[in-house]
Symmetry: C2
Subunit: 213 residues, 2 copies
DNA sequence: CGTTCCTTGTGAAAACGTTCACCTGCGGCT
DNA sequence: AGCCGCAGGTGAACGTTTTCACAAGGAACG
């Protein structure tokens, strides 16, 4: 099976979002140039990305917004619903549950787990927080979200994999070991801060320093 | 000024984290191979990354943990403290404030803003939530975190830039327009979900499908 | 002191991703 | 109908990032 680059997939998400906007504005067609303009991407990149998956445009006209939107939905697997389990009912977990956007995109959080006796039994966004030990029994789950402290992350990942999960969104700042066939995406805010810190250290004084060097 | 790739900087963060662990374990020296092992990176990559910034190792011995740790701290700009303003006191904002890890790394959230009358005036993690209109007066801030609804994101970004911020961590799923010299890192959870969704759609049946294609 | 076993640092090569340039197809206009 | 201008698709060129492979430095040991 052909592999696509992570960057291409991320850009598809961008295109999809732009298409949603443009669709809402009632536009029928859109050119690769316009599609690119809203992000900082070149039109050639847009055409190349899309061409990996098919020929969706028409020469001289551009892309049909409605059609391309449907195609990208299908490519990204957004033309179905995904059953998601959330592990960790702390602040991050609660933030995720509160954000309706995921549900709108087809991601249904159907179970919430935590290990703290304080939180188990409480209701969070219409879901009763269950003890983590119940995870193996929770049935048909396709994705898991790890929003636990870092020390629990690997253990939770193992449990999720054992429960049949094939995709994990990990908020713990640690690389998870998972068997082949399980996809992991890690969101590491500390790393983002550090990346900013690096960038600011590098450019320090760019606007202040006038002469020399 | 030489530019370094984003991937290199991210890996530096990884190395730093590994070094913290190894340091805590009391190890004195570490080889590029061992440094690589904990992530899925090759040892050559580790050496190449580090060589961009200097020669920190000793042939035959590896890297001195304490020394390399100090060097990377300096490279990433973690040998100082950063003053951070948080805009948006909703779930994500609260989650960030609650996480002590940032403070430990040198990132001090010194002010919290929100536009909702409900939240302004409340105390969140020892900080009083101020009205967003007070942002311009908040003084020497180096970084901003945008944890607002997407519709407010660009406006808040403009305000932060006007207030002198040179680094923005953005949780809103939108590309921000900022002047040159301002660094932006966007954490887009919807995109991560979509990336997982794509990955799962691609490999569907990898373990189920036996023969053919 | 020489040999052996490690491990770094780094040019060179390979792989990968992005941009360029051009051909082709399509609608509109005369 | 024929011409013109626009815009997608795509091979080739280009640039960047990763991997390879090896020379050189260093410790240990007989």
């Amino acid at each position: 099976m052909k592999r696509f680059s992570e960057s291409t997939v991320r850009r598809l998400s961008h295109y999809y979002r732009v298409l949603e906007e443009v669709h809402a504005e009632g536009q029928r067609m859109i050119s690769s140039h316009l599609l690119a303009e809203r992000e900082d991407i070149t039109s050639a990149q847009v055409r190349k990305d899309l061409s990996y998956f098919g020929s969706f445009g028409r020469r001289g006209l551009g892309y049909n917004v409605e059609h391309l939107r449907t195609e990208i939905r299908a490519i990204l697997g957004l033309d179905r619903r995904w059953r998601v389990a959330l592990v960790g009912a702390g602040h991050i977990g609660a933030a995720l549950l509160a954000y309706r956007g995921f549900r709108d995109q087809g991601f249904d959080v159907v179970a919430v787990f935590d290990s703290s006796a304080e939180r188990v039994g409480k209701t969070l966004d219409e879901l009763v927080v269950q003890d983590i030990s119940k995870l193996p029994e929770c049935g048909d789950i396709e994705m898991g979200v790890i929003a636990t402290p870092v020390r629990a992350a690997q253990e939770v990942a193992d449990m999720l994999v054992a429960a049949g999960v094939r995709g994990i969104l990990n908020f713990a700042p640690r690389k998870l070991r998972v068997p082949e066939g399980v996809a992991v995406r890690t969101v590491d805010m500390t790393m983002e801060f550090e990346s900013l810190s690096f960038a600011l250290s590098q450019t320090r004084g760019k606007s202040r320093r006038r002469a020399g060097e």
